[in-house]
């Protein structure tokens, strides 16, 4: 038996699912091949961790925590169900709220009506003095036009 054949049959050997002749061939190979012997040992030890995992037990208070979680979930659900069970209260309230929000948004927007035009340059002291000197009534920045909000 060569290494490849041995490694292809490790699980079957571990599970005792081989004929007596093949088992003997594997024993012979393990006696003669140190590398396969080491790998097989690690393989067996890794599979042995399955037994220690099977022995692990949950916290003895786990069922109490589960039941508390269920209670809190059922409580939330029943509050939700109350709301959906009384539509003759909920619907008018929702409609009234939607109208109020719509009116509020509408009022807010009318205070910001757009006005296009030419923006007047703000009057700094320099500009004021220039106006006085040259009898100019106003400066207008004709290059730029802005939409300003009153």
């Amino acid at each position: 038996m060569d290494c490849k054949e041995f490694r292809d049959n490790m699980f079957a050997f571990q599970d005792d699912a081989l004929s007596p002749e093949r088992k003997q061939a594997i024993f012979n190979h393990l006696d003669s091949c140190n590398e396969c012997a080491v790998i097989f040992r690690e393989f067996q030890l890794a599979l042995a961790t399955v037994d220690s995992d099977k022995a692990a037990e949950p916290n003895p208070f786990a069922s109490t925590r589960i039941l508390q979680h269920i209670e809190s979930h059922l409580e939330k659900r029943s509050r939700f169900m109350v709301m959906t069970k009384h539509p003759w209260i909920i619907r008018p309230v929702v409609v009234a709220l939607s109208l109020a929000i719509g009116v509020f948004i509408g009022i807010n927007r009318t205070h910001r009506t757009p006005a296009t035009g030419i923006q007047q340059v703000s009057e700094s002291p320099v500009i004021q003095s220039l106006k006085t000197e040259f009898f100019i009534t106003d400066f207008i920045d004709e290059d730029k036009s802005f939409t300003i909000y009153q």
Binding site: F11, E42, P58, A62, I70
Partner: protein, 193 residues
Amino acid sequence: MTDHELIEGIKNRDRIALQYLVTTYQRKVIKTAFYFLGNMEDAEDLSQEVFIGIIDSVALFRKKSSLSTWIYRITVNQSLNFLKKRQRRGVFSRIESLFYSDHGDNRLTPREPSVNENPFEENELRGILQQAVRSLPENQQIAFVLYKYDDHSYKEIAEIMELTLSSVESLIHRAKINLQKRLISDFSEYKKL
């Protein structure tokens, strides 16, 4: 309490039925989740969601299988969903770590063995086996865990997975072959170090 009485009690949110459900099935649910997740705390947390899932979807239970088979099915699905979420979080944290400080190499490396000592500690071996099992295709992973860890028969696994008996046998056979290859590769890599 029979399965039928229990199902009706759960539908009616009867507290005695809910208590019976939890006390009867919580150990099986937590242990099955533990075999998939590898962590008892995570398994206990997940079991809470499993029972909520059972209560919320009991009206959809068609009684084609037994109640315990159905509960196992929910537990397996929730466990795999949890693992997928954890994997996605792992991808994000690995991407994050590229931009932040280097946390160092987190790979398990075996110690230098003394003459008769095992190169890997038990926890390391458990981690290697769990990683190998999680690397299997999903159906092979489910079949192998239910068979090797949860000691279900092929017939029970076929009912839980809604497959034929021969499909389950084939899945477990392929799972063992793939695990064999993966473990040999992991242990051989160590020898090269």
